[in-house]
């Protein structure tokens, strides 16, 4: 069997893509556990005043992070994750999680802030941008793989 340089690079890339998702799963699981502990402690000292944004805070990293990354690993889609898209996506999760925590803190204290909308817009905007970036990245890869004139991994 002859291994070409391009095959080795492809395997490395696949491995790095998979490890990117696995790292994402671990990071989002840790974030989810931290959020659960944080909201439990916060609710404990909240004189029985609760906010769903605080109580269910851990769901943001769990659903948008762990669950999504797991689905990606199990389905193999995308075949090759983009590092830039992954970074934007994780920043988006962090942003909406912090926004939810702040909304919970403010609701429990009995106040609000007009700046909270920035978190939702930026967070979900980044997550949407990450999906778009991944789509463009995958399309470009597919185009390069089918175009004989395109040099792989340049």
């Amino acid at each position: 069997m002859i291994l070409y340089t391009s095959d080795i690079n492809r395997k490395e890339k696949n491995n790095s893509g998979s490890s990117l998702l696995r790292a994402g799963i671990i990071r989002s699981l840790i974030a989810s556990a931290f959020c659960f502990v944080f909201s439990t402690v916060y609710n404990h000292f909240g004189h029985r005043v609760y906010s769903p944004y605080m109580t269910w805070l851990f769901l943001f990293p769990l659903l948008f992070g762990t669950a999504v990354y797991l689905i990606m690993v199990m389905t193999g889609i995308p075949e090759r994750p983009s590092a830039a898209a992954a970074a934007a996506y994780s920043s988006g999760i962090a942003t909406v999680t912090i926004g939810s925590a702040l909304k919970g803190v403010f609701a429990i204290a009995g106040t609000s802030s007009p700046y909270l909308s920035v978190y939702w817009a930026a967070g979900f905007g980044l997550m949407g941008a990450a999906v778009l970036m991944q789509y463009l990245y995958s399309s470009r890869r597919a185009h390069r793989n089918t175009d004989p004139s395109a040099l792989p991994y340049q």
Binding site: V49, L102, T111
Partner: protein, 322 residues
């Protein structure tokens, strides 16, 4: 890519710090939307120089030694001040302490000759967000005879704020939010903010509008359900309420709470208390650590947020004085 990620994370942290400071710390003085044209325009200029200054009395209803004193009031009348009462030609106040459902409740029964003696005051005499003083500080600065904490309007961006005839804020977050309105003739009512604009209330003679809620008693009937609570709160708490028995005859009620000696009241228990006192209209003001009642120069309840004792700084007070 890593640089951009780090830069974004730093921006996120800085922005979050800004939002927290802006919400809880940074003061923001604002201006009134419509100046007062009513009865308070004549008296507001000299509120600090005149006044009956009950603070010279040493007696309080809760713990002080009995005292009987007289002092000159702002209306040139002679005030008779005892441990638990104040009386002059225009103002009559009796403060009592009761135990209701394991909770210490302070009840001030007030009769005034004109609604102009029922006033509001802002911390640092300024309207805005995060401008705070303790109830007793504001009471002393305004020579209040009796004072309770108000609705802590400065902790929120929404809800009507109309004080001493001047309109400061006319927005609301939900049309079902309830405001308590005191009119020039001394009558009161609870209104839904979506059904009456703040400017229309002012045009109809409103001199004070508080926005916290909910309304406790309306037309003599309890208007909260047994399980209803402020926001998501489900526990007994320190409470502050204002009620009207008849025009120019009011009650201020403050309950201690969150301690082993005094558990606090639910909204329904508070509403029942107000109804039992004969209130035809009653309204819940800011409670918890804010709940404070000041009479004749002293705080007579035990303010606590459940963690530490002492007065919390708030935005405003409701007070009786000249």
């Amino acid at each position: 890519m890593k640089k951009w990620k780090i830069l974004y994370d730093v921006m996120l942290v800085v922005f979050t710090a800004f939002v927290l400071l802006k919400t809880f710390v940074i003061s923001d003085v604002k201006t009134a939307q419509a100046e007062s044209t009513g009865i308070y325009t004549e008296t507001s200029a000299d509120t600090s120089s005149s006044g009956s200054s009950g603070s010279s009395s040493t007696g309080t209803a809760a713990s002080g030694t009995a005292a009987s004193d007289t002092s000159s009031s702002g209306s040139d009348s002679t005030a008779v001040i005892t441990e638990n009462s104040y009386q002059d030609d225009n103002i009559s106040i009796t403060v009592t302490e009761e135990r209701i459902d394991g909770t210490t409740v302070y009840i001030a029964d007030i009769t005034v000759s004109s609604v102009e003696y029922l006033k509001s005051a802002f911390a640092d005499n300024a309207y805005g967000r995060n401008i705070k003083e303790t109830t007793s500080q504001m009471a002393e600065e305004n020579s209040a005879i009796l004072a309770i904490n108000g609705d802590y309007y400065g902790f929120r961006d929404y809800g009507y704020v109309l004080r001493n005839g001047t309109l400061y804020r006319s927005n609301y977050s939900s049309k079902n939010d309830e405001a308590f309105v005191i009119y020039e003739d001394g009558s009161c009512e609870t209104v839904k903010e979506g059904s009456a604009s703040a400017s229309s209330l002012q045009e109809n003679g409103a001199v004070q509008v508080y926005s916290f809620g909910p309304g406790l008693v309306e037309n003599g009937t309890i208007s909260v359900s047994q399980n209803e609570e402020v926001s998501q709160s489900k526990s007994s708490n320190p409470r502050t309420a204002i009620g009207m028995i008849s025009p120019l005859h009011y009650v201020f009620v403050v309950s201690d709470g969150r301690t082993s000696e005094s558990t606090g009241l639910s909204l329904y228990q508070l509403a029942s208390c107000m109804q039992d006192l004969g209130c035809t209209e009653a309204y819940n003001l800011d409670g918890g650590g804010s709940s404070t009642i000041y009479f004749n120069g002293q705080v007579i309840n035990n303010p606590t947020d459940g963690n530490k004792s002492g007065e919390r700084e708030v935005s405003d007070i409701v007070y009786i004085g000249y």
